[in-house]
Every structure is written in C-alpha cells, then in structure tokens.
C-alpha cells in the first residue's frame, strides 16, 4: 500500500474509519474507567462484555429477528445484567481482599465467559448481515461506508447520554460521590451497594453496545473480547486511567493511529500498534494525556 500514490479522499476515508473504531474503543475504555473508579479493580472481563454484546446482538437480530436498534438495546441490557450478576456474586464478597486476588478473579471470570460462549456459539466467525446497506454515502468527492457513520453517531450519542447521566441526574451524582468517598456517601444516605451494581451494569452495558456496533463491520467471534479488552485498556491508559474524558480521547486517538498505520506502514502489525502505544505510554507518560496523578511515575 505504502508505495501507491494516496488520494486525499482515501485519507479522509481512513480517518473516518479510524474515528468510528476509535469510538468503539472509547466505549470499552469507558467501561474500564467506570468500574475501576467505583470498585477499584481492573476488570479483565471487560472485553468479554463487548463479545457478549456482539453475540447477543447477532442472535437477537438474526434468530429472534428483532430490528437492529431493538437488538442493540436488548443486547446492551442483557450484558448489563451479566455485569450486575458478576458484581453481586464475585466482586462484592471479594471487596476487601488484596488487589492481586481481585485481578486473578476477573481473569477467571473472563476465561469462564469466553469458554461458555464458545460452547454456545461455537468457534466459527459469524458474519452480521449488512444492516446499514453497502452503498457508500457520498459527501462531495468522498465516499464513506454508512456503517462507520452509524457507529460514530450511536457511540457519540451513548457517550453524551453517559455524561448527562453523571452530571445531571441524582443517581449519577450519587455514583460519583460513592466513587470519591464510600463512607461519606454512605453517611449521606446514598445506597453504595446500588451504586456498585449500577457501575458494573453501566460498564458492562457500554462494552455490549460497542460489540453490537462493530458486529456489522467485523466478524463476530467468541475470542473477539481479548483484543478489544487490550485496546480499550490501552485507550484508557493513553487518555489517563480513571478519567472519563481521557477514555474518550484515548479511544479516538488509538483508533486513528491504528487505522493510519495499517494503511501507511504495514497492516501485518496492525494489532501491535495498540500494544506498542500502551507500553510506550506506561513507560514514558504513565498519567496519560488527560490523567490525574493516579500512577506512580
């Protein structure tokens, strides 16, 4: 690719594609951020929520024959429910155990979910039928696949809704308060356990939405969670771990970097871009782009 002359409109296409994928990474990154702020754990099963969203979405869409948007919402809700169940049965009893144990427990959850999904849905890559049509949208001389525009639109809408929830609603503010200081929040009459469950639900649900969104673009596989988790985490770290705007910025930057380097450098190592960025950021700028000083430098 690199020795070909590159059309400026191609570059724009690559950028729109990168933005769309970046928004999906941002959703996964937000999932990491929200659950980490609330429960002080890094949830290795976050990528599997994304996978669950995709396989549930596909099942609802093709087997139950729900309209795409209904299957999107239903899949997100089911995934959120899975998140709540995990929080209730595993995270809550382990609340005061050492971080090492928490991390290992979430790894166990991730492996279990992936293995059970493999038993149900099989190891074959499943393709989502074209939802948004395959006719490119023309803007001037630029042609863009409609999928990318939909992904961008829905992901941005989800992130705006999330911001509204945390800044404007009482429940959202209560969750913020719980994340900042559990004891104080509890004394103010906030049900901190409800906040925990909600945080688990929201972060799982966001991952689920991400999964349903990429379904029509990529194949759906039960192993898709692993790389999504790494990329979402890389995005969160890049933006500054623990920061909500940071997760969004990190996701978008990562998506762009990945798409651009796959086009202009080499697509063989496409998946390595995220890891190189991740390790680079961890080493040279552990607080990320927008992060507070949460990590020891």
């Amino acid at each position: 690719m690199s020795d070909l002359k590159i059309d400026p409109s191609d570059i724009l296409q690559v950028i729109v594609g990168g933005l769309a994928i970046g928004c999906v990474y941002a959703l996964v990154a937000l999932g990491f951020t929200i659950i980490s702020n609330a429960l002080h754990l890094i949830n290795f099963a976050q990528g599997d929520m994304y996978m669950l969203g995709a396989v549930f979405g596909l099942t609802f869409f093709t087997q139950v024959r729900m309209p795409y948007f209904v299957s999107l919402v239903t899949a997100a809700l089911v995934t959120a429910l899975v998140g709540v169940c995990i929080e209730r049965t595993i995270f809550r009893p382990l609340r005061n155990s050492p971080p090492l144990n928490m991390v290992i427990a979430t790894i166990g959850i991730s492996i279990t979910i992936r293995a059970v999904a493999l038993l149900i849905w099989g190891s074959q890559a499943m393709s989502f039928p074209a939802v948004f049509g395959s006719v490119p949208v023309k803007i001037g001389s630029i042609r863009i696949m409609p999928d990318y525009l939909w992904i961008l639109g829905i992901a941005v809408a989800a992130m705006v809704a999330l911001q509204f929830f945390f800044k404007k609603t009482l429940t959202g503010k209560a969750m913020n308060a719980t994340a900042q200081n559990r004891n104080a929040a509890s004394m103010m009459g906030i049900n901190i356990f409800r906040s925990d469950s909600l945080a688990a639900a929201i972060s799982a649900g966001l991952g689920g939405i991400g999964g349903v969104l990429v379904g029509p673009v990529f194949f759906v596989e039960t192993t898709m969670g692993a790389s999504a988790a790494l990329k979402g985490f890389a995005a969160a770290v890049l933006g500054g771990f623990g920061s909500v705007p940071g997760a969004i910025v990190g996701g978008v930057v990562l998506g762009l970097a990945e798409n651009l380097s796959a086009t202009f450098i080499s697509s063989t190592y496409r998946d390595a871009v995220a890891f190189v960025i991740l390790i680079g950021v961890l080493i040279f700028r552990p607080n990320g782009i927008l992060g507070k000083k949460v990590l020891r430098a």
Binding site: I42, L100, V103, I104, G108, I111, T112, F233, L278, L295
Partner: protein, 323 residues
C-alpha cells in the same frame, strides 16, 4: 510449631526426591513419561512465576512469551548456528533473562494490574513477531528439526533419557530458588509483596527487587523453553499464547502462592486435571476459569495454604490432647 512445619517439609523433600527417582520405574508408558517430562519443565516455569507472583506480588500474564523466546533462541542457536545444546541452554536462559530485565526495568515501575496488562501486550507482540519474522522463526509453519541433546556421544532422544536430563536441572533450580527465598534478599522480596510503602521506608529498593524477581523468572522461563524445544524437536509459534500464560498462573495459584511446594503441587494437579478432562476438551477452559474463581473465593492460599492450615490444626489438636 514453625519447627514442626519445617521438619515436615524437610521430610517431604526427601520423599519427593525418592518419588522422582522411583517415577520412571513405575511410569513405563512412553506417553505418560512424556507427560511427566513436560510437567518437570512446567515446574521450572512455575517456580520462577511463584517467585514473581507468590513472593514478590507481581502478576505476569505473558510468561508464555518468555518460554517461547527461550525455545526459539535455543532452536535458532542449535539449528541455524550449529551450537551444542549445552551452550544453547544457558544462552537461551541468559538472553531471555536480559530481555526480561530490559522489559522489567521499564514496566515494573507500574503497580499490580498495570503490569499484568502490559505483560499481556508483551505476550501478544511476541506471538506476532514469532509468526511474522519468518527469517528467524520459520513463521506459522513452525520450527522443525531441533536436534536432541547429546551427552558424551549419547543422544538424549528417548523419554527416559530426557527424564534423567531434567531431574538434576529441576532439583538444582528448585534448590537455588528456595535458598534465595530463605535469604535476606528473599525477605526483601516478600516485604515488597506485603507492604510496598513500608518496605521502601525500611530501605528496600522496591523497583530493583521487582526487576530482580522478574528477571529471574524470565531466565527460568527461557531455560524451560529451551528444554521444551529440544524435547519436542518442533516449535509452533501458536503454542505460546495467552491461554498458556494463564495456565502457568493457574498452576502457581492452585498450588499456593508464596509456598515453596506450591508450584510443584500446582503443576502436578493441573497436569493431571488436564489429562483427566482431556475427553471433555471443550469444557477445559470453563473448568479452568471456574477453578480460578473458586480458588480465589474459597481457597485464596491454594492447596499448600489449605494443607498448612490443616496440619497446624492437627498439631494444635494433638497439643490440646496432650494437656
């Protein structure tokens, strides 16, 4: 009571050595002998990982990458460069250790979970490189024709001969690591695990200790990789994947983090569990995952911790009876 436990462990050490000597006379089936050999190699990896996770409190989810790197270096040295196994083995340990040191020095400033995730990244990058750097690794088709080690003209090419090659190596490594853990350095490592800030106050260089543990575990993984390469004679880049890394962690955890016998028990348990559940291959990962959760929730100190609790209880009871 501590004395009692030490006495028990000394006696059990003798027992284990006797078992090791007796094993090949009992296990005659070449398949099971091969299984035993790979368990011995896994013990080397697990002992290193136990030093890192059990004693120093750092998680690595990319140790399969170090095993893979060691294996490929050994294969490259002996096949392409024509080195003897006896040179390739230590060199692959050293080079893997050097890589581990360089990586650890940059990544180990990070706390717990960040290291775990960075190590997954390292694992994935390593696999991509092993698959794509075909000039060095022969890519996806795998590295073939790795020679068996020769010992004074005798080719170590049967399961039994390889067993006798492995036993002294495993015992030496096990003994070295145990000596390290019991030394002042070992106490410094444990202090990092238990309370990093306090350790720092007492003058322990926390980052240096973590890097040390990481490097040693990488050396051991490299050695294990080299031994694997020469045992199978063939390497596939896909066998050093994330699942493999998780199963290493699982072994150390199930055996009991921070118990010197932990890795041995864990490897034996998981190898036999894998063998038992082989016919339900598709459920293997479900069982692994549930086991991980179950151990953390119900038995956070693994089998060794469970047994130690049991034996102290027995000792206490006999003490009470004596009154």
């Amino acid at each position: 009571m501590k004395k009692a436990v030490r006495f028990i462990s000394k006696r059990s050490a003798l027992l284990w050595v006797l078992l090791l000597i007796a094993a090949p006379f009992v296990v005659r089936n070449p398949y099971y002998l091969q299984l035993l050999n790979s368990a011995l190699i896994l013990i080397i990896v697990a002992v290193g990982l136990n030093l890192l996770t059990g004693f120093t409190g750092q998680i690595s989810l990319g140790h399969a990458a170090f095993v893979g790197i060691g294996a490929y270096i050994s294969a490259y040295l002996s096949v392409t460069m024509g080195f003897s196994f006896w040179l390739a083995l230590p060199l692959s340990g050293l080079i893997t250790g050097l890589l581990g040191y360089l990586l650890g020095r940059s990544v180990l400033k990070l706390k717990g979970a960040y290291l775990a995730i960075a190590s997954i990244g390292v694992g994935e990058i390593t696999m991509l490189v092993l698959v794509n750097w075909t000039k060095f690794t022969h890519g996806a088709e795998g590295f073939k024709g790795i020679p068996s080690p020769r010992f004074f003209g005798l080719a170590i090419n049967s399961g039994l001969r390889y067993y006798w090659l492995l036993v002294p190596i495993v015992i030496t490594i096990y003994w070295l690591i145990n000596t390290l853990v019991d030394s002042e350095l070992g106490r410094a490592l444990r202090s990092v695990r238990d309370e990093e800030t306090a350790a720092e106050f007492m003058g322990v260089d926390v980052t240096k200790m973590k890097v040390l543990a990481f490097t040693i575990s990488a050396v051991l993984a490299g050695i294990a990789g080299s031994l694997l390469a020469h045992m199978y004679g063939y390497l596939s880049p896909f066998s050093f994947n994330f699942t493999e890394s998780v199963s290493y962690l699982m072994m150390v955890l199930a055996g009991g983090l921070g118990f010197t016998w932990g890795p041995v028990l864990g490897v034996l348990l998981l190898t036999s569990a894998k063998e038992l559940f082989r016919s339900f291959n598709q459920y293997q990962l479900v069982i692994y995952g549930l086991m991980l959760i179950g151990v953390i929730v119900f038995m956070p100190k693994g089998i060794s911790g469970f047994l130690a609790g049991l034996s102290t209880r027995v000792i206490h009871r006999s003490h009470d009876d004596g009154r």
